[in-house]
């Protein structure tokens, strides 16, 4: 709900912005639209895609080619997400057998192949690019001003958020989250893991395709160089920095990074700065934000801010670590599957399960590190660890064979 109020509030922004900032706003809206899909894919389905810009490009080229060949722009825009989703289903059927870094490299490979095909195909304008895409129009009305495109981008973002909001809350969304933390458990529980993974892959591709369609009509010109591998990495950076597994996360991530890069761009093009300054600054920002976010804010900015605000609002309960409101929310799936899970989840136990002294004293409960103390000491000795592991293997093999 808060999310849609935020979106509604941002609807007045383009009207107030000076026109020279409108291009940045359009870019921001489109980027956020793609990032919502990336966040859905990474946060809820637990898959890393390093090739999301490929679907952005497919949507853009799809819309562009259709309207260059005489179809009405509205049909092109509507077709863009459909084409991207269809491509995702075709590619995903074989590729989604892969997991983790294999999938990451496979999606990267798909993008490289697409870029190479686009730059060699004369049907797509080759390396020079696709030119002469008409302005977006419905009936007799033509969208000319940047302001219209700002609202178009905002509408795309709103639609994408609405869809994700409903998907996440549905039965399928719960199944997805379950399969992100343990595929085997989810499959045993009756979740059609493969079908859901493919569906969310297609959905995130459709989001990227929709954004690509708007992009094509906004610029009126497309080239393979507009969709570099770095763009895919940027989407991942925004999703991770904002916070995976939340819907506000991608918005915050995209906003923070696009604005920051814009500011640094302005700074870098000041007279006296070397010519390479803008690109160096933006690379450095992406890299440092990504590394800092993964190392120190593994849940991203939005969950961290949530935790901070809830700590300020309810100081008496500050001792209860903020993970407790919803353990699955905002937790990156790969971490949930890590062997350290046992350590961190114990700190998030409900308060009645805490050590009695800490739980009883309101003063001690205010010191969060105390609550974690006893569990730190329980990190096991390697020998015990081996015993535990072999016990587990025994149990598992017994389970399998009899």
């Amino acid at each position: 709900m808060k999310l849609f109020l935020l979106l509604l509030a941002s609807a007045v922004v383009p009207a107030l912005l000076p026109s020279r900032y409108l291009a940045t706003f359009v870019l921001l809206g489109l980027t956020a639209t793609v990032t919502v899909g990336v966040s859905l894919l990474m946060g809820y389905a637990g898959q890393v895609s390093l090739g999301q810009a490929a679907f952005y490009a497919i949507g853009a080229y799809g819309a562009g080619l259709l309207s260059v060949h005489g179809l009405p722009p509205l049909a092109g825009l509507l077709a863009a997400p459909v084409i991207a989703a269809a491509a995702a289903v075709l590619l995903g059927a074989p590729l989604l057998r892969l997991r983790g870094h294999h999938l990451a490299f496979a999606t990267l490979a798909v993008q490289l192949i697409l870029l190479s095909l686009l730059s060699q195909g004369t049907w797509a304008g080759g390396a020079i690019g696709l030119q002469g895409i008409p302005r977006f129009s419905v009936g007799g009305w033509e969208a000319v001003s940047d302001l219209t495109y700002a609202y178009l981008a905002l509408a795309a973002l709103g639609l994408v958020l609405l869809i994700s909001h409903n998907v996440v809350r549905s039965r399928a969304g719960r199944g997805l989250r379950a399969s992100a933390s343990s595929e085997m458990a989810a499959a045993a529980g009756g979740v059609p893991v493969g079908a859901y993974r493919l569906a969310v892959f297609a959905l995130s591709a459709a989001f990227a395709g929709l954004a690509g369609g708007v992009y094509a009509f906004y610029l009126g010109y497309l080239s393979p160089g507009s969709f570099p591998v770095l763009l895919s990495i940027e989407f991942v950076v925004m999703a991770v920095v904002g916070g995976l597994g939340t819907l506000t996360g991608p918005l915050v991530g995209a906003t923070v990074i696009v604005l920051l890069v814009q500011v640094l761009n302005t700074l870098g093009t000041q007279p006296g700065m070397p010519t390479y300054a803008p690109s160096v600054l933006s690379y450095a920002v992406y890299a440092l934000l990504l590394i800092v976010a993964v190392r120190y804010l593994p849940h991203g900015m939005v969950p961290a801010l949530d935790r901070l605000s809830s700590r300020i609002r309810r100081p008496s309960q500050a001792g209860v670590p903020a993970e407790s409101p919803g353990p699955s929310r905002g937790r990156p799936p790969s971490e949930a599957a890590s062997p350290h899970e046992g350590l961190s989840s114990e700190t998030a136990l409900p308060s009645h399960a805490r050590p009695s002294l800490v739980a009883r004293s309101p003063f001690l409960a205010r010191l969060p590190f105390l609550a974690r103390l006893p569990f730190r000491a329980r990190r096991s000795h390697p020998v015990r660890e081996i015993n535990r592991r072999s016990d587990e293997t025994d149990r598992e093999s017994r389970r399998r064979h009899g």
Binding site: L50, L95, L230, Y276, R295, S334, E335
Partner: protein, 277 residues
């Protein structure tokens, strides 16, 4: 016929470069479980550094060795950064790779760079391709000896096969992980230093390097360095043959499609439902 021989030799030279990048990936992955996306950046840094050192008057050989040593040091630094944060390690190395772009542009600019290698033509092949092969094969032989005959190499292999048991017998797994990163950095650097005279290097040529290296390494499931060598050589020869007999524009696609096919077949054989790695 002589065309074919020249293509094969050139392909072997190119493939040796992929094999070095790939085996760097393998060296790091089998010990630490991290797929190092910044592997291509080691090659770029070493190549750029060599060009600067050579321009500064250092003789061939010394410049290359210094560059490889610096790449190894970079590897250890990346290792320090990555091994502290489990989970998300691939994402961190992606970040490192992008950060390397910024550093490389500041230090060396965004124009392609190269430096002269071994001149001359032997059997219709640039002699430098033979030099690449002539360095790579002994390096792999030395690596084989290192992993099977020395205590340090055996310790690394132990960490690769069972880190818990390795800890029990007193091996410092974390230090071995850093060592693996150093080794990976040196191998990546060596690849960059060797291939730059025949293939110009720019700050963003790391993507092509890492993709080809990954394609070479994935044949052995990212765990077997000698399969990475075979994979790299195969890839190099396949690409050169395709380029030589038409289709010059589709070199990268060959590597990518091969990689995708190998991964999909591997995944299909491993079974439908697995826990994420």
């Amino acid at each position: 016929m002589s065309d074919l021989l020249a293509y094969v030799l050139t392909g072997l030279g190119i493939g040796a470069g992929y094999a070095l990048v790939g085996s760097g990936l393998v060296a790091i992955y089998r010990v630490t479980g991290v797929v190092n996306f910044a592997q291509g950046a080691f090659a770029v840094v070493a190549a750029m550094l060599t060009s600067t050192l050579l321009a500064g008057g250092l003789p061939h050989g010394v410049a290359e060795l210094v560059a490889v040593a610096v790449a190894a040091l970079c590897g250890v630094l990346v290792g320090l950064l990555v091994t502290g944060s489990p989970g998300q390690s691939l994402i961190i190395t992606v970040g490192v790779g992008v950060f390397a772009y910024a550093v490389e542009i500041v230090l060396w600019g965004d124009q392609p760079r190269s430096f002269p290698g071994l001149g001359g033509v032997v059997a219709g092949v640039q002699a430098h391709y033979l030099l690449i092969l002539g360095v790579t094969v002994p390096v792999f032989a030395a690596m084989g000896l290192f992993f099977t005959r020395t205590d340090l190499g055996k310790a690394l292999t132990a960490c690769a096969s069972n880190p818990y048991a390795a800890r029990v017998v007193g091996i410092d797994v974390r230090r071995m992980g850093l060592l693996a990163f150093g080794l990976g950095g040196a191998l990546g650097g060596l690849a960059g230093v060797l291939t730059t005279p025949v293939q110009q290097v720019t700050f963003d040529s790391d993507v092509a390097l890492i993709v080809n290296g990954f394609a070479a390494a994935v044949l052995g499931g990212l765990r077997r360095p000698f399969v990475a060598l075979a994979g790299g050589l195969l890839l190099g020869v396949a690409q050169t043959l395709i380029a030589g007999y038409g289709g010059g524009a589709y070199q990268l696609e060959v590597a990518l499609l091969l990689m995708l096919a190998v991964m999909i077949v591997q995944a299909a054989r491993a079974g439908a439902v697995r826990e994420a790695t």
